[in-house]
Amino acid sequence: MSLNTLSPSNEGKDDLSNDNYNKWQNLTHNSIAIPTMSEIQEKSANVVATLIGKINEVKNFVKEKFDNLSNEMLTELTDSALVHIAKKTIASAKKENRTEAESAGIRVAVSSVVVQGAMEEAGMEKSTGSNPILELNQGDTKSDLRDSIITLHEEGVMLPNGEEVAELAARVIETNEKEHGPKVNLSEVIRALNGRELEQTSETIVRPKAEIICDHSHIENQRIDIINKIDRGAMEFRFKLTAPTEAVKALCEKQPIGEDGRPQEVTTPSGATLKRGAIIFEKTSSDTSYKLCDAFVFEKDGITVSIADPSSRDESTKGISHIYNDSNLIRTAMGLVKVEAPSNMEPEAIEQALNEILEKDLGIPGALDEVPDEAEKEYKIARYKWQHGITGELTPEQIEQAEKLEREEVFPGYTTLVEKGKHQEYLAEYGQDVRAIHSLTTGSAKSIYRILTQGLMCTTERYSRGVMRNGMSSITDFDTGGADSVFTRIDNATIRQERTGTIVVFKPEIFDRTDWYSYDGDNYGSTSGEVYSGRLSSEESFSVIAKAPNKYPRNEQMFRTGIGASFVESIEVEPNQLEGFITELKAMGLEEVNGKPIEEIVVARKKPQGEHVPNLSIPHDEPTAEQIALEQELAEKQATIQAIISGEKSYTSFNEIAELAVVADDVENAFKSMVQSIINQGKKEQLTSDLKEYLKQTMKPEELQEAASGQAPDAETAALFSFIHDTIGIDYGALYDEVSSQTIPSPDAPPMSEPPLTDDWL
């Protein structure tokens, strides 16, 4: 094979810009003939023939070395050999200012891999392994691979079947990137993150974050989070080990006591000295910080590494909650490693140092290398099994489903594997109105704004990115492990009507995620032992709702890290708060969300029509007899309300008025309207007398006293008591005096044992 066949001539294209080409043309158009199409085609055919010849040389060599190989195995081994030759050729050449011979050798070796990979993509060759092009599409060989593909494209090199080699190669890379995400180096991620500012939303300032997908055998969720702590001049890398490596175990054993009775210094494999420290959350642009746990700490080349000691907080186990936590560890801290590098350190230097720390000190070689296809497949299968609660082997159909899992960004800076379209199966089986929801309790326009613009973050995500308030949050969810996830509950539309306060309703696509776990009760999101092993699979999570559709949900789901704003379907609020929220949100500049007007996202909750919650069964298509009876009863009551308001029906008793008012859509308005009508009928005296007796019988003395002083638990009650006083003339103070002067036996509280003192929990 002649290298000159492939090496470019001086009038070739290696550094030929358009401008240079034009200049060259002007100089040489009379001296050098421009190749014809047939000459190009001939050259292309020569190139591919030469490369295929090289490939066959290698294949024959492999065949001679190994007997009885299947065609697929032979192809795989040939791929490996070609990749090895290419890598070796590149490694032995200079990185810059290569000689012509070096460049030519590299071009041949790499182009052979490209042609081989193109033939596999075209179906001309079959391998049991992955496409060899992908082996070169990383690290030090990536640049030469890309150059080779460009050259082959420019030369119009085609396979014998007429398909263009460069196009096939590009397709291989593109398909892989679509499945796995484009592979970027850590240094590229750091460089990109360096260019980002702190993110400010309303009053919240958040440090920017990115992630890098990496080794899954040792690192949880296959990723390292990178947080730019601009405000502290540092870049933080945060990840969790799935289990302590031998290297980490050796580092974190109790320091041996020397002959002098003092702890001996422990040195890491790379020569750094181990000290005792802590893993701390630091608020953005503030001196405020909170300790998560104690840690083993060492420094190397300006980089600080902290390995969490989840058994210790303030050098003690005291205070670690053991409820929903049989490990007696700070579960959120288990396996946690934090690495901090100065911001002014070169990204490549950081990458190199981190690689060394991971390999030598933490015992994870190749952690930052691209994840091989086989490893990725293993990971997908493991994730599929975990999500669906499958303990045995997967069926071929299930394996196929697992391999289809795609990586998707579900929260800014956080990707996970999703099972696209899975939510449709859940909705078809358990109800189209089933949704995951998150309660904001009373909520506020600020929190609504934050969720609609930033999404929801779990506790550890908030704290690690510097978002902290006043430290008044309980630490219990750090101990149980729930702090790593956002809590939701699964509701149907009927149950949502029963709720109070503000709730975030998520799109059903959220259920496509494969990073959530679930319980059928309040387990505080625990990840501990027996509790965790009893968690529900995703299918079971829905069937629990189906069993008791009208029961207020005690289920809980934990979605890892965060839920992006794009998953928000609506935010349901109390009807009397809607207008205020909309006004405030608009004043904060939020007029629309994902192209929809804010009024379509922030909506008033539909209140239940009656006292009884219809006993819906699944499917929700045909109403039951009970439902029909309830609806009729409700309709009759509402008709009676209108009859009283219009004067068609006379006043009979306050009991009737009270019973009717509570079934109205708007209790306050219905009550006031009926009372006004009764007064207009000339029945005020009777109403007043009846109401006095009624209140004396139903309200406790202290409640009458509170009403007299103007106190009320909510706005509606305050308005109604005020109306009763102003319109009907009820004097709560006088009623209280009347009631207090009577001897009324106070009820005995049901016998209940006194709860133990707090100290018993420790």
Binding site: L440, T441, G471, S473, S474, P713, P747, M752
Partner: protein, 144 residues
């Protein structure tokens, strides 16, 4: 103090009087009421995850009663088989299938905060008055 709706929902039974405790199984229908104080200290016989309760709500349906609250980091929801309220103190028994136990709610005050709560917070600040302490707890709602 109960809400207006909670009070008048007893109107259906004309023989009812205020001496009947709220867990009277004769009372039908769905009723939602909130405890009157904004923040409670919660103790339990067998549940160390409870500490602070904000916006404590009791929902009484035909076949069950649930108690829910916000605990500074997330919503808690539990099934109650018995409830009792005496002055400002509220107690419920949790359903056995959920782990059972008794949960007692008393309004949060400075003494309780300093002696029993502060050390179990991430970084509980010092407060000189109850109003600021309550405001501090209520501000955690924005992180919900």
């Amino acid at each position: 103090m109960r809400s207006f709706e909670s009070i008048v929902t007893q109107a259906g039974n004309s023989d009812d009087n205020k001496d009947i405790p709220q867990d009277n199984p004769e009372i039908v229908g769905n009723r939602t009421e909130k405890l009157s104080k904004p923040v409670y200290f919660i103790e339990s016989s067998n549940d160390g995850t409870v500490l602070v309760g904000i916006d404590v709500t009791i929902r009484r349906a035909e076949d069950d009663t649930t108690v829910s609250w916000y605990d500074t980091t997330r919503e808690r929801v539990m099934t109650a088989t018995e409830t009792s309220q005496e002055e400002d103190r509220f107690v419920f028994k949790r359903a056995e299938e959920e782990g059972g136990g008794t949960y007692s709610f008393t309004p949060m005050d400075l003494e309780t905060y300093n002696n029993k709560v502060k050390q179990r917070l991430l970084a509980g600040p010092d407060f000189t008055n109850e109003e600021d302490m309550i405001k501090g707890f209520l501000s955690t709602i924005d992180d919900a």
